[in-house]
Each structure stands twice: as structure tokens, then as C-alpha cells.
């Protein structure tokens, strides 16, 4: 893990979900919203304004890149985005951090369980 990958941690939920949605495939904006909805089982809703605000930052940080081509039969207004290696590294770092958090949380929760006399 590079040092740069941990500079921006922890990630905001929106950033995390966007990176996560792009981890599997190149997606356009609307597909990213659909993927985030699927991942969170509909509990996390991301509007276009928030999505592109985050995408703007992610592109600036070069964690995500915009692709120059799209399928011929697609809406010409759509743009496709891809997770870069740097983005993938940040996602991995965040996932690892979250893993630690989860493990620690579980540990604490185990210790806090009521005991029977």
C-alpha cells in the first residue's frame, strides 16, 4: 500500500460507493447510481448533483478517468468512467481500514456481551 493511498482516508460514503461501483466495470453516471442502489439495497440514494460533484473530485485526483468512447447505440450524452489503478489502491486501502474497523467493532461487541452469573 502506498502512502498516498491513505492520505484521503477515511472516504466519504459517496466516494466509497462510487469507487466501489466502478470496481467491477466501466459505468456511466446513471449506471453508477443504479449500482450504488443495488449495493446498499436501496438504502443509500445518490442524486446526480452529488454523484458528479464527487466524480469531479475523483477525476481531479485521478482515481477515476473518463473514457473517450461509448457503445454506438448508447445515449450520446452519456460518459463512461473507469477506476484507475490509483483509485483501486485507495479503495483497497479504505476497504482494509474498514475491515479493521469492523473487526475491532466485532471484538468490542463480543466483549460487551452480558454474561450470566
Amino acid at each position: 500500500m502506498k502512502d498516498g493511498d491513505t492520505t484521503f482516508l477515511p472516504l466519504s460514503p459517496a466516494t466509497l460507493h462510487i469507487l466501489l461501483s466502478l470496481a467491477g466495470d466501466d459505468l456511466h453516471g446513471y449506471a453508477i447510481m443504479q449500482e450504488i442502489a443495488r449495493q446498499s439495497d436501496g438504502k443509500y440514494k445518490l442524486g446526480p448533483g452529488t454523484l458528479y460533484d464527487n466524480l469531479q473530485k475523483l477525476i481531479q485526483r485521478q482515481w477515476v478517468q473518463e473514457l473517450g468512447h461509448r457503445p454506438a447505440d448508447d445515449d450520446p450524452r452519456r460518459r463512461y468512467y473507469r477506476l484507475t489503478a490509483a483509485g483501486r489502491g485507495v479503495l483497497a486501502a479504505e476497504t482494509s481500514r474498514l475491515g479493521e474497523v469492523v473487526r475491532e467493532a466485532r471484538s468490542r461487541l463480543q466483549m460487551a456481551k452480558p454474561r450470566r452469573a
Partner: protein, 555 residues
């Protein structure tokens, strides 16, 4: 319905964000409203309202919380040919001004436009002063049918305009009684005759109008000398080129007997048709024929000399100083005797430059008002100037009009100036036109609002050069016992002249209208106007001042 609003919200985003994401956000808006739910994931269908709210939130966020992205467009990927093989054509670095720049430009444009409109409306900048009547000068539909071929003019070069309101009258009756018409029809339509006027006229006007203080009549006298018409200063400059005639071509002016004969024929025809006295016209015609038969014209081998010769021959018989033949070295096209727009524009410019020939206005000792003006210019152009000059003398106890260098002009302006001396509309003259068989009454426009001079003693200074319309002013006021004339007997030119075309180079100014004073039943043609107090012109002002002071003391 929200889509246009949503689109507006997207357009209001910072340029970098807008260019990069607005289209795609709009596509999401369209997509969400076009199908139920987000992929059937139980998210519920985003309403247009929620998307619009999201857009507003995004708008606020981008402008307030993302200053680092306001102008920096994130590097866009190089577009590749579409997957179906059809290449994409993109413009390089398209320019789109920032929203703020557009708003600034809009506000600036509105401000400049408003300022310009304000300037035109109140015209504190003289350049922007738009005078609609000047435009109307050149509208052919204003020309009375009888004025289309020629232009009645009177004495002064300023008289390029002279309105007419024909009143049926007995053609040979010198004082045809007319219905109770008043001056306004004439006075209010002063410019109708200016359109087709003799083309050299405004050039003479320019000569006249040039020196406001340096003896404006002196140059006119030069014109007179070259035209062999000692006192017909204002009529025309025979060699004046026709300005504004694109097709004008200077031609050799050598004349042969045939040409001379043709010119004489044309002059005679116009005289017989239009000249105010048919019997005199016949005498003139006979004289011209006799001179031709005697070979008196054979020495005139060029047009200018011939025109001067004919003028002298005609005036020898008629003594009519308005009667002149003019030669123009530049060929004029058919029907362009009238003043061209350029000439009219020059006349207007000259009038502005010379304060409409109002040379001097002053309050003399004993509170005597003094006004020297050297023509009676077209009131449609100079009425404001005349009103201002008269207003400056409104508090005077007596008034002296100095017409010693005045070359006449528009009868409308004569009536306008006389209006200040009467409390009620006053009949000045009947203007009888022989060729039209009509008589036009000239009345003052009294009372003039705010005027206090109507009952004040008035004096008119005259000289042997006082000409035409200026003579009318003095003559009418004298007979109405409204003014005391001081100075010399005037020139004796009463007629109004209208220019007619003879051929491409020659034209003739034929007096076709004479004034008939309602008191004397005649005019001053040939005799001039006798002053009440006869002194040399140079002493006239001092004499008038003494008279006025004496009259005021007696009061």
C-alpha cells in the same frame, strides 16, 4: 414542465462543471422520468421535483464550496472514433463566454442603449439632434403639383423654401378677395417649395450665409456683378455647379447660333407661360428676339456670357431684378432643377453655423432692443433661432430691426417676425401667382405667447441693398403704421421667382408671383420702399436710436 427549469439550473452551474457534466445530468433526468424506478431495485422513482432540488443543491455547492473547480476544466479524454466506425468531428477549443461576462455585457448594453436614447431625446449633444422636418424636406409627396417643375423663390438666397396654399382668385385681379383664410397654412408649410428648387440656389445661399459678421452682402454683391444683375443678389449664381448630380458632366460651353436660338425660345416660352405680367413678358420676348435678329448675341460664344447677356436684355425691359437666365457648366440631368439633398443639407449646416443669419441682438441705451439679421430664412429650420432672438429682446421698451444688409427670403419668416409686433392676426399681403391663377394670403401669427413687444415702438433700418422679403417686411409695417422706416429707399424687388429648366445647361428664373398689399393695393417692384425718415444707410442706426429715445421720453 420542470425540465426546462432543470436545464436552466444546469446552465447556471460553473462553466467547467457545466461543460463536463450538464448533458449527462440532463440525460439522467430524462432517463429517470422515462422509466419507472431505478432498475426495479425498489428505490422508488425519483420525482422530477427531487431531481430539481438536487440540481439546486448542486448549483449552490458548486458555486460556494468548489472554488477550485470554477474555471479549471478537468482534462477531458481524447475522443476516439465511435465504435460503429463513424468518426466524430469536434471543434478545437470552442469559445463560450462565462455567464458573468454575459451578464456584464448585457447590463452594459442596456446602459449604453438607454444613454443613447436619452441623448437623442434631450439632444444636449448637438450631433445627435434629429430634426424630423429636415427629412420631410425631401419627401416628394409634399411637393404641390405646381411646384414639381420649379421653385418659387424670393430675393434672398435663404428663400429656398416658400409654402403655398393656393386660394382661387381672379387671375388678373390685383387684389383678389379671398375667403377668411389665415396665415398659418402658409406659415406652417414653409418647406414644400424647397424640394424642386433651382439647383444653384443653395450654393448662392451658402455664399450668402457664410459671413455672419463680415458683411454677408459683400460676397453677394460679387455674385451680382458676375451676373450683370446689380441688385438681384440672392437669385442665383450662374456658374454654380449642380452639386449632388452623379451624372453631371462638364462640357465645352461653346455656343453656336442654333443653341442660342433654342435657349431664347425656351426663355420666351417660360416667360409667356409664367411671368407675372403677360404684357411685360411679351415686351421682354420681343426684345430678346430683336436683339437676336440684330446680331447682338453673336458675340456670346460661351454659356456664361450668353446667360449674362440675356439677363441684361430682359432686365433692361422689365427692370425686374429677379428675372435671370442662369448657365450651369455642368450638365444636369432631366428634372433635377430641384435642390438636392446634399444642397439642402449644406443650407441647413450654413444656417446653423451662421445662427440663421441673425447677426446681432443687443439692448441699447434707453432699453432699446436692436436686432440685425441678414435674411429671412426658412422658418422650418430657423424658427427656434428667431424665437430665441426675439425672446432676448422681449423686455425692451422699443425695438430696431436692422435690415440694411438683409437680402430677403421666405415670406413665412417675414410673417413670423412681424407677428411679434401685433396682438392679433394681421393681414400683411396677398401673394398673387399668375400661372396658377391663385392668391395666397399672408397673415401674422399673432399673438405670440409671452411676447411683450406688440405695442412697443418699432423701427426698421433700410438701405439701397435691402432686398425683396426684407422690403416686404418694411413695406407692410410702414403701411400698417406699425414701424418707422429709417434709411434709404430699398432695392425695389418685390416678385417671387421660380426656376425653370431650358436645357441641360440653361435655366431661367421667372418671377410668377407678386405681393399685393391690402392697403396700397400694389407693391414696391421697381420703385423700392420709401423710408419715413430718409438718411444715409450708415447713419440710419444713430438716427433711429435718437428717434426711439425721443419717442420713449414722450411716452
Amino acid at each position: 414542465m420542470l425540465r426546462p427549469l432543470y436545464r436552466c439550473v444546469l446552465r447556471l452551474h460553473p462553466p467547467a462543471f457545466r461543460e463536463r457534466f450538464a448533458d449527462e445530468m440532463l440525460s439522467i433526468f430524462d432517463h429517470c422520468l422515462g422509466r419507472p424506478g431505478l432498475g426495479g431495485l425498489g428505490l422508488g422513482r425519483p420525482t422530477a421535483l427531487s431531481l430539481f432540488a438536487d440540481g439546486l443543491l448542486s448549483l449552490a455547492r458548486q458555486w460556494t464550496l468548489r472554488p477550485e473547480f470554477l474555471h479549471d476544466v478537468a482534462p477531458a479524454p481524447a475522443h476516439q472514433p465511435a465504435m460503429d466506425g463513424i468518426p466524430l468531428f469536434l471543434s478545437l477549443n470552442p469559445f463560450r463566454p462565462r455567464a458573468a461576462a454575459v451578464i456584464h455585457g448585457l447590463l452594459l448594453s442596456v446602459a449604453v442603449f438607454s444613454l443613447t436614447c436619452f441623448a437623442i431625446k434631450y439632444s444636449w449633444i448637438q450631433v445627435l439632434h434629429v430634426r424630423i422636418p429636415e427629412v420631410q424636406f425631401e419627401r416628394p409627396q409634399w411637393i404641390p403639383p405646381t411646384a414639381r417643375q420649379s421653385d418659387p423663390q424670393r430675393g434672398s438666397p435663404a428663400s429656398v423654401a416658400q409654402g403655398r396654399a393656393p386660394i382661387p382668385a381672379r387671375p388678373e385681379s390685383p387684389a383678389a378677395p379671398s375667403p377668411a383664410s389665415t396665415a398659418p397654412p402658409r406659415a406652417l408649410r414653409p418647406s414644400s417649395g424647397a424640394l424642386p428648387g433651382a439647383s444653384p440656389r443653395p450654393i448662392a445661399a451658402q455664399k450668402h450665409a457664410t459671413p455672419a459678421s463680415a458683411a454677408p452682402d459683400s460676397k453677394l454683391r460679387k455674385v451680382t456683378k458676375t451676373s450683370h444683375a446689380p441688385k438681384a443678389q440672392g437669385t442665383t449664381d450662374p456658374v454654380a455647379p449642380v452639386a449632388g448630380v452623379p451624372s453631371a458632366i462638364a462640357e465645352d460651353s461653346k455656343l453656336d447660333a442654333t443653341t442660342r436660338h433654342r435657349v431664347i425660345d425656351g426663355a420666351v416660352a417660360n416667360l409667356e407661360k409664367y411671368y407675372v405680367y403677360p404684357n411685360v413678358a411679351e415686351k421682354i420676348a420681343n426684345a430678346l428676339r430683336a436683339h437676336e435678329n440684330n446680331g447682338d448675341d453673336s458675340g456670346a460664344s460661351d454659356g456664361e456670357t450668353f446667360a449674362k447677356l440675356l439677363t441684361a436684355q430682359m432686365q433692361d425691359v422689365s427692370h425686374d431684378q429677379h428675372l435671370k437666365v442662369a448657365y450651369n457648366a455642368i450638365k444636369s440631368s432631366e428634372g433635377v432643377l430641384g435642390s438636392t439633398p446634399e444642397e439642402l443639407a449644406r443650407y441647413r449646416k450654413d444656417m446653423r453655423r451662421t445662427n440663421c443669419t441673425f447677426e446681432k441682438g443687443a439692448i441699447l441705451p434707453h432699453n432699446i432692443g436692436y436686432l440685425k439679421f441678414n435674411s429671412f430664412p426658412d422658418p422650418s429650420l430657423c424658427q427656434p433661432t428667431a424665437a430665441a432672438e426675439m425672446a432676448s429682446l422681449n423686455q425692451a421698451d422699443a425695438i430696431i430691426f436692422d435690415l440694411r444688409d438683409n437680402q430677403g427670403g421666405s415670406p413665412s419668416m417675414v410673417a413670423l417676425m412681424a407677428s411679434y409686433l401685433f396682438e392679433h392676426p394681421t393681414h400683411l399681403d396677398d401673394l398673387y401667382n399668375r400661372s396658377e391663377g391663385s392668391t395666397l394670403q399672408s397673415w401674422t401669427l399673432s399673438p405670440v405667447t409671452g411676447n411683450k413687444l406688440a405695442n412697443k415702438p418699432a423701427y426698421v433700418l433700410t438701405s439701397a441693398s435691402t432686398f425683396s422679403g426684407a422690403e416686404e417686411f418694411g413695406y407692410d409695417l410702414k403701411l400698417l403704421k406699425r414701424a418707422t422706416l429709417v434709411g434709404e429707399t430699398t432695392a425695389g424687388a418685390a416678385h417671387m421667382v421660380r426656376r425653370h429648366r431650358i436645357d441641360d445647361h440653361f435655366s431661367i428664373g421667372v418671377p410668377d408671383t407678386r405681393p399685393i398689399n391690402p392697403i396700397s393695393r400694389t407693391d414696391w417692384e421697381g420703385t423700392g420702399v420709401e423710408p419715413d425718415v430718409k438718411v444715409d444707410a450708415g447713419d440710419a442706426l444713430e438716427t433711429a436710436k435718437k428717434l426711439a429715445a425721443k419717442d420713449l421720453q414722450q411716452e
